[in-house]
């Protein structure tokens, strides 16, 4: 992917609001452990979106040190680790409404499913649905 900052933020928000929401609706009923409900799960989704804007600024900054000014496919997957950890800490710290009591296994599964789904969509189907997306730095509008 060769995102611009605007493209990064737009793509994240769009995919979380579409793919993220659908996957959350589907996955919550089968999450393990106690405390998993839609309120908490959507809280986590919003947290990933909000914290994500900050993350995107950091990634954009790091991208400036890359000669190619690209963001390799694998980076989009691996950044799930740091983002997942921070979101988990925020949830445990009571900063994510409704998600304070969620079990770590439920959080991990929900987060992983959403992250993987969003990443897969960004690396294929989104290019089909939005045929100009990949040539416009990931911008949707």
């Amino acid at each position: 992917m060769v995102p611009t900052l605007g493209g990064r933020v737009q793509t994240r928000l769009f995919l979380l609001a579409t793919v993220g929401v659908v996957l959350t609706v589907l996955v919550v009923p089968v999450l393990p452990g106690a405390g998993a409900d839609y309120g908490g799960a959507f809280g986590v989704l919003v947290a990933v979106a909000v914290l994500g804007v900050g993350w995107e600024l950091i990634y954009h900054g790091l991208q400036q040190f890359r000669w190619e000014k690209d963001w390799p496919t694998g980076f989009g997957l691996v950044t799930g680790v740091n983002e997942g950890l921070l979101t988990w800490l925020a949830a445990r710290g009571g900063l994510v409404p409704g998600a304070g009591g969620v079990a770590s296994s439920a959080f991990a599964m929900h987060f992983a499913v959403v992250w993987l789904g969003v990443w897969l969509c960004a690396n294929g189907p989104l290019r089909v649905a939005v045929p100009r997306w990949r040539f416009h730095g990931g911008r949707l509008w």
Binding site: V2, E68, P72, G74, V128, V130, G137
Partner: protein
């Protein structure tokens, strides 16, 4: 045989239909002609057909039967046989406007072994950090284009012949003059990969007894590629003076005899150039050492020797070393959609030129296998490098060619059995007859890099003939608002811009999400557009 260009036509920048008719040149009508018929034409037609235009609205004027034919020739002679991989990204898919499924995914899902499945996926997932960039096999690319050509009914749009010129037409649009082939038919070849094309006559397009045919169209697209091979002045002089085209060869012309000879007899070969083609040539020479028992000594001449990472600032530093500048593709990746694309789009004149200078220059990908080969050659002494400017080439004793070059330590003489020049293709657009005519008669001009000046929409600036428009894409337009023009992805970006601009003036529909999705499903099922 009648119907030829007249002095009056040659001199007039704008033609009337009556002038063309008076010259006896038959006129054919079509909405859009694309001149070239190579990959540039192909990806535009693909885009337009997918967006909904009928094949009857488009004519492809070309001297080649298959869109990949010229590319296939150039890659083959420059040492990329069908099973080898080209320097192109997984999602640069000239047969598929979406870049999905990418070549890596396709390779995985057509593999017959587990390793064959995982290897391309792992590579594309871990590139360029843990793996080299994934790149597709050239044979796969041709096969995929053959499939797409059949799907969009490419043969029905193809008209064979040499385009002589495009002139503006009084009343709007353009007149494109085509010289039909000498065999008398602009026949429609049936696409078949890897074999001579069969021809089927297309009754409506059978050539009349005329030297020229005029295509009257509202829109014209030029994708004529490179005008020819570039020979450095010293090489040209040597070949002209000594009539020796066996020992001094251009990498883009057939030169298998060099490798054959080097396998049979140990000798020294001089390689010039520091780009991807030089890398390929070295790779071939070393493979022949490793696999065929050749004992070739390679002398590699650099004009500019890159010692390490280089660039104007910490934010613009390109990797380099051992003489080479390293880069995955021929420009930094983000010129095809990211930050550098967005930035260049806003620059004019000297500023644009400066950014081109910063991101351009000769470079090659840093592939692990090539690194290993050259390191071994340096260690074992059969690969040596010199830095300097070549002064002359002279015949030496025992049928050798002596390269005389100025180095930091004075003049150096390098005797060798062969000299392989890998310094590139001609970039001067005036060398191309159609482009030269456009510059002379139709108001086209030069961009900051001296090539054809195009708008952000790829319309050739200064050539508007309302309600018609003339576009160009490919190598001729390097130096414009978009840098990566001479690549699969660059041609697709140009095609999308052109298609959207055409839609904005009522020719075809702008491809929306719904049609994009339904057409993608048709692509997946290999159904006609």
């Amino acid at each position: 045989m009648g119907g030829d260009l007249t002095p009056a036509l040659l001199a007039a920048p704008v033609w009337t239909d009556a002038m063309v008719a008076a010259a006896g040149i038959p006129i054919r009508d079509v909405e859009l002609v694309t001149v070239g018929g190579g990959i540039g034409s192909f990806v535009l037609v693909d885009q337009l057909r997918i967006a909904g235009l009928p094949a009857s609205a488009i004519r492809v004027l070309s001297t080649i039967d298959q869109p990949w034919q010229t590319y296939q020739y150039l890659t083959r002679v420059s040492q990329i046989p069908e099973h080898e991989r080209i320097r192109s990204d997984s999602a640069s898919t000239p047969d598929n406007i979406w870049g999905f499924p990418s070549y890596a995914v396709r390779e995985a899902f057509t593999a017959s072994t587990l390793r064959g499945f995982t290897r391309p996926l792992w590579q594309v997932l871990t590139e360029p950090v843990l793996s080299d960039y994934y790149t597709p096999r050239v044979g796969t690319v041709f096969a995929s284009m053959a499939r797409e050509a059949a799907r969009i009914d490419w043969p029905s749009m193809l008209v064979r012949g040499q385009v002589r010129m495009v002139r503006r037409r009084a009343g709007g649009g353009y007149l494109t003059i085509l010289t039909p082939p000498a065999d008398g038919s602009e026949s429609m070849p049936t696409l078949r990969l890897g074999s001579a094309p069969r021809r089927t006559a297309a009754p409506a397009e059978l050539a009349p007894a005329t030297r020229r045919i005029a295509y009257r169209s509202r829109f014209v697209h030029l994708a004529v590629g490179y005008p020819g091979l570039r020979f450095l002045p010293d090489l040209q002089e040597y070949r002209a003076r000594h009539g020796d085209v066996r020992r001094v060869v251009n990498a883009y012309e057939p030169h298998e005899h060099v490798y054959d000879e080097l396998v049979r007899h140990p000798a020294t070969v001089v390689v010039r150039g520091a780009g991807i083609v030089a890398s390929r040539i070295l790779n071939r020479l070393i493979n022949d050492r490793d696999r065929q028992g050749a004992r070739t000594h390679i002398v590699h001449l650099f004009r500019t020797y890159v010692r390490g990472a280089h660039g104007p600032s910490v934010f613009m530093r390109r990797r380099g070393g051992d003489g080479w500048a390293y880069q995955g593709f021929n420009y930094p990746k983000s010129v095809w959609g990211g930050q550098l694309k967005a930035r260049m789009r806003e620059l004019e004149g000297a500023e644009r030129r400066a950014l081109y200078d910063a991101i351009g220059g000769t470079n090659t990908p840093r592939r692990r296998v090539w690194q290993e080969q050259l390191a071994r050659g340096r260690r074992e002494g059969w690969y040596t490098t010199h830095v300097g400017e070549v002064h002359t080439l002279e015949p030496g004793p025992d049928g050798t060619v002596v390269t005389r070059m100025r180095t930091a330590d004075g003049m150096l003489e390098v005797p060798a059995a062969y000299v392989i020049d890998a310094t590139g293709l001609i970039a001067d657009i005036r060398e191309h007859r159609v482009l030269a005519d456009l510059l002379d008669h139709s108001g086209a001009g030069h961009n900051p890099l001296g090539r054809l000046d195009v708008e952000r929409t790829f319309e050739v600036r200064g050539t508007r003939s309302d309600p018609g428009r003339l576009y160009a894409s490919g190598a001729a337009t390097l130096g414009g608002y978009f840098p990566g023009v001479d690549t699969f992805l660059g041609l697709q970006i140009a095609a999308q811009e052109i298609a959207d601009d055409l839609a904005s003036v009522g020719f075809g529909q702008r491809l929306d999400s719904r049609r994009s999705v339904t057409q993608w499903v048709r692509w997946m099922r290999n159904q006609p557009v």
